[in-house]
Amino acid sequence: MRARSPRTLRFLAVGQVLVWSAIGLGAFLLLAKSVQNSAEFGRLQLWILLVDACAVIVLCVLLARQLWRLVRDYRAHVPGSRLTARTVAIFGVLVIAPLLIVYASSLEFINQGIDSWFKVEVKQGLNDALGLSRAALDLRMREYSERTVALAESLATGDATEIAARLEKERRATSALEIALFGAHGRILAASQENAFETLPSQPPPDLVRQVEQRVPYVSLEPQADGRYLIRTAAALPRTGASREARFVVALYPVPAQLAALSEAVQDSYSEYGNLVAMREPLKYSFRLTLTLVVLLSMLAAIYLAIYSAQRLVRPVQDLIEGTRAVGKGDFATRLPLPSRDEMGFLVHSFNDMTKRLRRARAEATASQQAVERERTRLAIILARLSTGVLAIDRSMTVRTANESAGAILGTDLSSATGRALPELASGNERLGQFVAALAVRFAAGREEWREQLDLDGSSGRRTLMCACTPLPGEDAGAGFVIVFDDITALLQAQRDAAWGEVARRLAHEIKNPLTPIQLSAERLRRRLLAGMSERDAEILERGTRTIVQQVETMQQMVNAFSEYARAPEMQITPFSLNQLVCEVADLYRSQDPRAQIRLDLDPRLESIEADRGRVRQILNNLVTNALEALDGVGSPRLEISTRLEAGGEAAYAVLSVCDNGPGFQRELLGRVFDPYVTSKPKGTGLGLAIVKKIIEEHGGRIDADNRPEGGARVRVVLPVKDSTRSATGAARERRDQLRRERA
């Protein structure tokens, strides 16, 4: 339902008041005009009827419309409709009940009141008075009639002069107004009047003529306009031989004024009473109809006004309900129109004030939430970009948050670990299991804040973490911990590499130089002294110098190896095919050792790489040699060399993998296989893989070693395809240049 604005409602209300006022004023003016001039009533009654009918029709239409809307809203459970219906019902009962009582009482009053006007005694009194008047007048009429009959008989004989004298004598004797003798066709034969010079005798009425022609005496009482009464008598003259003409005498006698006045009063009363009696039933019916119409109009108007008032009363409540629903749906911009300055207006004003405050509070909360979100996003970005692992857990070791680096360091995906228990995530992950066990041990010991180095062993080797744990601040004591850890394996490895590099450099520099004089001195001693010594002594000398020379040579080899490890020759970077090089090396070893089953899996996309071909060949030789040595004693030795072209960001990398099905690396050595002097073989210097790692790092690549799940070792070498895009170029070259400078 489309709601109307207060302005529209006010306009409609004023319009209705104007319409009703116009109808009422029009009806009143028409009624007043008809009352002032009864002649206008007949002309105006149609308009009065139309105005009243219009008023009733308009009221009925308005009321029907309002009731229909009320019923429709009630059935549709429109907010406020039930309150409106209840209010209308209460108003209706309060108005209709008194109206019905007044209506019933008024009907009874009308019936009894109007009936009391027409009592039998009044009617009887009027009839008696009428009879008395008639009796009094009849007496005179009879007397005058008899005198007229006697006069007519006396006039039967005599000439005209004599008749005129008799008429004059009779008129004077009886005080008649006029006495005339008429002949045929109303011809006046003789007459006597009070004022004979002013008027002629009045013409006899037709009924008089008809009656006297039948020789029946005529008498009538004729009321006059001035209230007088006249008695007209007539009688036919006897027909004699002298005259055969039909003659009759007519006399007009006045009724005494007092008797006439009394009779006229009786006549007036009779007439008025007759009019009243005739109007009794129409009057009662009219009063009843008028009263019914008035009551009906009052009831209709009262119901209409009740609906209108209830709607006006309920409108603010409906607005409040709709406003409350809107606020409930989150629309705090709702503002209700102020209905008035009463209590309802105060309530609406309070509602508007509340929504205003809510809107402001929500805006502030939204701003705060956005700020928090921005901070959280910034923190998440920082955590994601951190190479340091950050892990927040509660006291039950349930993950609350973890960054990508934490997952990478711990070897598991923690992006969906939030809300899950850390021990649960550790199943199947050896490194994470050791990490969780280390945490559990410390938490069980009551240590909440600590900083320690943790060594985690896994299939890919040992990882060393520098781990710091701090309890999270919070209102409750069990807020949890934040654990920050760094994988310092590479750092330690670099430190070891640097240390071994220094050792090698010193060995090459400090030990290699004295070895030659020692060897030369020992050979010289043998040459100078061997000839002059006894056989026994010569044998001792020979054995001693030979031992010295052999050991010096051994040391020489060792120093050379260290020199090889420590030296940083200028690399000859050229493009070449790694796949071809792999094939060459494989063919070489196949030819040298038929027992070797070397299988190649080469990526044809890897066309060429930019590197020092000779040193890459050295890498391949070392790795294949190590693998073949590891395969000694294996039933069906297999060696697999594969290449892959992988993309990492904007750079491309060549991945070289060398896998065997030998016993694999020893677990305790897995993290240190690239350290010098770390070897499980009885022979060798233990510098092979160290040199390989060093060459690879000089190329900006990396190497790692682990054991395959199905058994055997796997060494994985990653080299940049282009020399200009090597990620480790800066560090490697810097280190290479530094070594070069030191050597110089």
């Binding site: 009624l31 009864s38 006059q224 306009a225 009464y229 006229e264 009779y270 009219s286 008028t290």
Partner: protein, 198 residues
């Protein structure tokens, strides 16, 4: 909540509505029933011009019924109006009214004298008759009623209309207003119209 058959409820409502309409029509017809039963019409009418004065002659038949006689004998006064209207034709507009006259006479029964009295309300002249027929015959003959003089006419076509009316007279105006709905003692005839010879 149990509900009735909508079709049956609709039929019941329709029947109830029909009964109410029928009752309303009966009551309305009863309310409109006129006590002045009988013929009421202008039988003939014409005008004669005598020395520049238009004199109206009309023959009117008024209703005669026992109800009228009884009412008169009970003291009711009847008013007999003869309305004369002269209009000039106008094109595309209402006709112009030239004359609008009413000849009003009253008839009542004089109980003391047992006669029917006819009185001209304008002049006050009255005439009594022994019978109602004579009185109505007298009222039905209108002779030489001056309605128009020649200076009132200035060319064009003129129509003269005559209408007779009978109603219960001697009612106070306020009473007539009260009896607005129920007064069935009020009748008028159709207009008797003809062109006025100029």
């Amino acid at each position: 909540m149990l509900r009735g058959d909508p079709t049956r409820i609709g039929v019941t409502r329709a029947r109830l509505l029909a009964i109410l309409c029928a009752m309303g029509c009966v009551l309305w017809s009863l309310a409109l029933a006129n006590a002045l039963e009988g013929v009421l019409e202008v039988r003939s009418a014409y005008v004669n011009v005598d020395k520049g004065v238009f004199l109206l002659y009309a023959r009117i038949e008024y209703p005669q019924s026992p109800a009228i006689s009884d009412a008169l004998r009970d003291g009711i006064t009847l008013t007999f109006d003869l309305d004369a209207r002269v209009e000039r034709d106008r094109h595309l507009w209402f006709n112009a009214g030239i004359v609008d006259l009413t000849l009003r006479r009253e008839l009542n029964y004089h109980a003391v004298s047992d006669r029917y009295v006819v009185r001209d309300t304008k002049s006050g002249d009255q005439t009594s008759f022994a019978t109602l027929d004579e009185a109505l015959g007298y009222l039905g003959h209108v002779d030489a009623w001056p309605i128009l003089v020649e200076p009132q006419l200035d060319g064009g076509n003129y129509n003269i209309s005559v209408r007779a009316g009978v109603r219960r007279g001697h009612l106070p105006a306020a009473m007539r207003a009260i009896l607005f709905w129920t007064d069935d003692w009020n009748r008028v005839s159709e207009w008797y119209t003809w062109s006025l010879p100029v």
